[in-house]
Symmetry: C3
Subunit: 307 residues, 3 copies
């Protein structure tokens, strides 16, 4: 039995198979309408995340399965002092696969060790959020046609941004990738990313603090929200949050086939005037997220691909 706890749990070949399946789902959607009939997904969200939860639910419903679960810890048994290990053994009796969101790093891993059903990490604290990374990979592959030979700009909060770290770790496995890391000094990527991930793999990268200058060379621009909840004080948050706002003028500096991604929700780091630009891909990305979760659910449940 496989779980999905970390995007690196799957090899490059397995990711490739998964993304190929997701693309087939996109192109032959009705073919998959019943492949999970009678299967049940449990969505265990110990902290709210509407977008991620509904993406999983939509994915499972699209496959003909059904969904049960909870959307916040208030309505769970966690408040009665039950351990995640016990909860997952109970949920194993109720469902065929589980998507777990938890504020504590490693909770899905702990769950997977006692689970009788596949566990998908739907985000554990600042740690991992593998289905977001898979979504990002599918978006890039679908729009650019490949995952190699790309210059990828990452902009905003690169220090606390979980999705940024995961995306870097996932992309360094592909040939000829360059990164441009665009952030204020206070929000640079952590040391371990620079040393253990980038330098250790001989990946070219540069760190800059100016979005305008970086624009012309990018194939992908990955914008991130400056998440208030990751800051230590209000003052720093207010000072930094508006530094890197993408607007029409900045888009003029970009290549005609440079796509803008964002894990959402956006606050104001992408001006709404950019939304109608054909290179704005952040809402398409949401749709790819459903397809990739459908592919992941099928893969972990070992459901046969319909012919």
């Amino acid at each position: 039995m496989r779980h999905m706890l970390n995007p690196l749990d799957f090899s490059v070949e397995e990711i490739d198979q998964l993304l190929t399946l997701a693309s087939d789902i996109e192109q032959n959607f009705p073919k998959y309408a019943h492949v999970c009939n009678g299967k049940k997904l449990a969505t265990l969200f110990y902290e709210p995340s509407t977008r991620t939860r509904l993406s999983f639910e939509s994915a499972m419903l699209n496959l003909g399965g059904s969904v049960l679960g909870f959307s916040s810890a208030d309505s769970s048994s966690a408040s009665k002092g039950e351990s995640v290990s016990d909860t997952i053994r109970v949920i194993s009796c109720y469902a065929d696969i589980v998507a777990m969101r938890h504020p504590k790093e490693g909770a899905p891993l702990v769950a997977s060790m006692k689970s009788r059903i596949p566990v998908i990490n739907a985000g554990d604290g600042g740690h991992q959020h593998p289905t977001q990374t898979l979504t990002d990979l599918m978006t890039i592959r679908s729009l650019k046609g490949h995952l190699e030979n790309l210059t990828i700009g990452l902009c905003g909060d690169l220090k606390f941004g979980r999705t940024v770290h995961s995306l870097i770790e996932a992309m360094v496995r592909y040939p000829n990738i360059r990164f441009v890391l665009i952030s204020p000094d206070e929000l640079r990527v952590p040391e371990y990313i620079r040393d253990d991930v980038l330098r250790a793999n001989n990946i070219p990268f540069k760190e800059v603090d100016n979005l305008d200058e970086a624009m012309p060379e990018l194939d992908i621009l990955y914008m991130t929200r400056v998440q208030k909840e990751r800051f230590f004080n209000e003052e720093d948050y207010i000072r930094l949050k508006d530094c890197y706002i993408l607007n029409k003028d900045k888009m003029k500096l970009a290549k005609p086939d440079m796509y803008v991604l964002h894990p959402l929700p956006r606050v104001n780091e992408i001006s709404t005037e950019v939304d109608d630009d054909p290179r704005a891909a952040y809402f398409k990305q949401v749709q790819y997220g459903v397809y990739v979760r459908m592919a992941l659910i099928m893969t972990l449940l070992e459901v046969e691909k319909p012919c």
Copy 2:
């Protein structure tokens, strides 16, 4: 693509078609069990409303579709600062139709402007609640056989009662309608209803403060809850809430075919002793609400009527 934001979005003819479909659903319920197979309804309830939410969910399940969503803003991304415009673009990737309840007037309209899927306003603040109005219309038409030639009494909180205003606006489009507006002076219908809706359409109406005297001439009595949350102070609420309580004695004054409607929940404005009176239609009304929502979902999704 059509939305349902305001009961007046549909012409009298379109309402007539909708109610005819709803009646057919009532009479041939099993025929409709699969017409929305594979379709997904998103229920986005930024404020809780169990009754309305479950009516929509029941409607969609009755049609063979499925449901996803949230039941209060706590468990949504709203708290992360996302705009309704962004949320609806995301939800457009997850579902085929959406029912949105929002505390702010106009939020469903804003959503509809960016939505790729039909939006149903499931109540926006004190503004509109079109499926309640459609429910009221279907109840009257089903019980009386027609929507014209009726004397309609509206009783209770006519000032803040959103459903009352909508029902008046909807009924003035039918021939030979009279209104008896029964309320304490403090809770009379707003000036714009009297001037712009009633007088502007030459609709006969009278305003009275005595329920007993009004009873004998009514064909329909629409009771409303005196909603605590609409009051400015506790004292006014306590003084006024019990003024207009319908009981068995008052029912003796009414015609044998006068029906009592109420949008529910009731607190004490209708004594439970009235519940067994065959003219008490407020629980039937709930059932009609499911049928009319089924018809609305089918209509907006442009689902073929089964033969």
Copy 3:
């Protein structure tokens, strides 16, 4: 129309039929995948209980039905002052069967009196929780092969433990049952259980305060959580909660075919080192809970057993 408000609502013969159906479901699971197609379960949880709610939802989905409802009173109309009697009449328009959890004793009974659909009590305060009792009975019958000729140990909080009282009341209807009641003096079973249930039915029992001494003679050991919320003060809770902790050493004193049950969630009253003992039956019990709820839903809906 039948309801399930109290485990004693069903005769011994009816319980026997129900458990036989549940066992058939366990052994021929796929046969039941569509017996409730088109049926809807409403889960009305006025207080959160994830385990119980999800067990019901899993059960209904396993039968091919669908589910709607709420998971806490915050998101219900209860806050608008609606009575349970009115709510159930509304829900009767939305669903085919209801599972209700309520903090007030007797609320499901009140609901059943106005309901047009079968009501299952999913726990009403400290009063009854019949589907837990049915789960316990199925677990004992499945593991021991019968419900008579058993010595049953009940350990922990026997004073406030609702499930303990219900299990005693249910088991005294079977021949040749003995109880060993293991608790600190402060948490002994209430007087009415000793007098009106045990002595009135000539059921042999003893009360002891030492788990070790009781172990060798037991066929079933039913452990319970010392529920913090039932205590009057923190100090008593801390002093008593760890008194009766089951561990590997204690298990060595037990018969090789003595099974350990627990209604869950567990806090620390069963050491996790016991989990791998083949006699640890508390997670199997969860699975039996799903089967027995499937059987109950089918029985109350009068669904034909498939051939």
